[in-house]
Amino acid sequence: MTVTDSQKMAYVAAQAADARVNLQFETEDGMTLNMGPQHPATHGTLRIVAQLDGEQVVRCEPIPGYMHRGYEKLCEVRTYPQVTTLINRIDWLGSFANEVPFILAAEKLMDVEAPPRAQVIRTILFELSRLGNISLFLGDLGIQLGGITIGFYAFRDREFVLNQIEAATGGRFHPNFDRIGGLKDDLPKGWIAETHLAMERMRRLCDEFEELVLGNEIFQARTRGIGVIPTDIATSYGMSGANLRATGVDWDLRRDACPPGLSYDLADWKVWTHPDGDSYARTWIRLQEVRESTHIVDQLLDSIPAGPIMAKVPRIIKVPEGEAWVATENPLGEMGYYVVSKGDLVPFRVKIRSASFNNISVVPWVTRGVFVPDVITILASLYFILGDIDR
């Protein structure tokens, strides 16, 4: 029959086309899988190339650079106050936290110190940007693993934190609020009480997350024992923040090496560690970090001293000659600036050490031999912001 014949021909043609496509994908070692630069499983435009053998990953290489903006070069032609506008965009979920280490480095070189009121407010805003950042992680992790609900919860409660940042600084995403020697403005009226309420919301989100996600059997099956990173490997790659604490290292820059200019010594909180080093541990650490962060904010809100918010600094800022390294515990991990000044209006060289760059460089090591869906889990739990890798 002619109909079946033509159907047969169509089938053969389709098979031939499939074979051609497969030939392009398949290499000697199996299949090459490209995730990104545009892919639902990526944040931003991180491209991941994985060589597969069946379902297992043989080799997995992240390819950054699709959003490289050359901030280190651009910093060299901007004056010190102008630099904060750029570096706001490095980790765009916790923007204020990016400004602080650079400003502290400039303050160190100029030997000025912000007044205590500015220091405390600075610390509060630093913690608020941490909450804004990590609460998105909690929601995003659920979405990546197939649980949509917690994503909506996280975005709902994150608004309260962003509203507080906006009320104080005028910007939800890019505050550009920190200045050499203090802050741009004082807090608005009624802000403290509202921030207490927002902290209450965040703590409720943490409880919800714990019930909905951490206790979930499917979540545990997908994260426990997945992507285990030992302590030696973590320090050797320079992983920091929650990723390092999840390997059992009791190390938090806020407590252990807090640079002058932030007043974490006024608050009492706990630095949590987890011995497992797997995806579950990293998630758990971040959840506790949010909880402790709300407690830090609550304590600092009650101990804001009176006084000015700006030290006396010259109108045109010339930073004396010298070199300074300042690192702070940012939401994603240790972020530092190595600033070289030649006594000019502009920095001579700024080396930006961003947390995600080191955290993601571990991916080729940790994904060796895992299954394809676990790559998503590992990437989501390592938690990166693309701007923080590419700078």
């Binding site: 650079g65 320090t235 030290a311 010298g322 209006l345």
Partner: protein
């Protein structure tokens, strides 16, 4: 160091068990820094002749300049014998004063810091240096909470150094970045390919003699507001609008 009196209600409830070194130095107004001096001494004994110069800024940081030939041994000894196990970063500095000035062509900015036309001499920073390019790396001791910034001179005719990837796995990406941004190669790093830039990119962007094209094409307006406010006098801004 603290210049402001503590104002308001202050509750000291820090989680840290021990007082930080900063607070103890506040009292003495110390010029000495025993911890960092001791670490510098240990580094010198372990590394021997590899250490060229050290510089300590009390209460802040320790800079150590080492020989380029011993660059890999420095990492190995620091990690395995001195406890500096945390790899912070690895990069480089180009000490050449920028031939393009500050790329600030607005008259106000030029007046604020007049730049001379003859090329300025190369002046290196802490712990000295004799060459244009210097390697810059930082290691940290997680237990003792102390860090060291390492530097190494690179002669212009041979911009290469031994790799750190044998000791610190994370150095691979940093060396790739340094390689493409400064043109410094690392012997022993087998994966020295472009990280950020496209494969066919020419030049090393972070070198000082690499022009920032955006600034070459369109001068930075500086503190002059080139865009007239809506409703501003058209004639007054006529020639500026025509120029841009």
């Amino acid at each position: 160091m603290r210049t402001w009196l503590t104002a308001g209600r202050v509750i000291r409830l820090s989680s840290a068990d021990t007082p930080t070194t900063e607070s103890s130095e506040d009292v003495v107004e110390a010029v000495r820094d025993e911890r960092r001096e001791a670490l510098a001494e240990r580094l010198t004994t372990v590394l021997g002749d590899a250490v060229v110069e050290t510089h300590i800024r009390p209460g802040d940081d320790l800079w150590v300049r080492v020989n380029r030939e011993a660059w890999a041994e420095v990492a190995e000894a620091s990690r395995n014998r001195l406890g500096l196990r945390f790899f912070d970063f690895l990069s480089a500095i180009d000490w050449l004063p920028s031939p393009f000035g500050r790329d600030m062509d607005a008259q106000e900015d030029l007046d604020a810091g007049a730049s001379s036309s003859e090329p300025a001499p190369i002046v290196t920073g802490y712990a000295g240096g004799d060459t244009r390019f210097q390697l810059l790396a930082r290691l940290f001791d997680i237990d003792e909470h102390i860090g060291v910034t390492f530097k190494a001179d690179l002669p212009d005719e041979d911009l290469s150094a031994p790799t750190w990837t044998g000791t610190f796995l994370g150095a691979e990406w940093h060396e790739r970045e340094t390689w493409e941004m400064f043109g410094i190669s690392f012997t022993g790093n087998r994966n020295l390919v472009h990280l950020y830039l496209p494969g066919a990119f020419e030049g090393n962007p972070l070198r000082k003699d690499f022009p920032l094209l955006a600034r070459r094409v369109k001068p930075w307006p500086g503190i002059v507001d080139v865009e007239p406010m809506p409703g501003a006098d058209e004639e007054a801004d006529g020639d500026e609008a025509g120029a841009s």
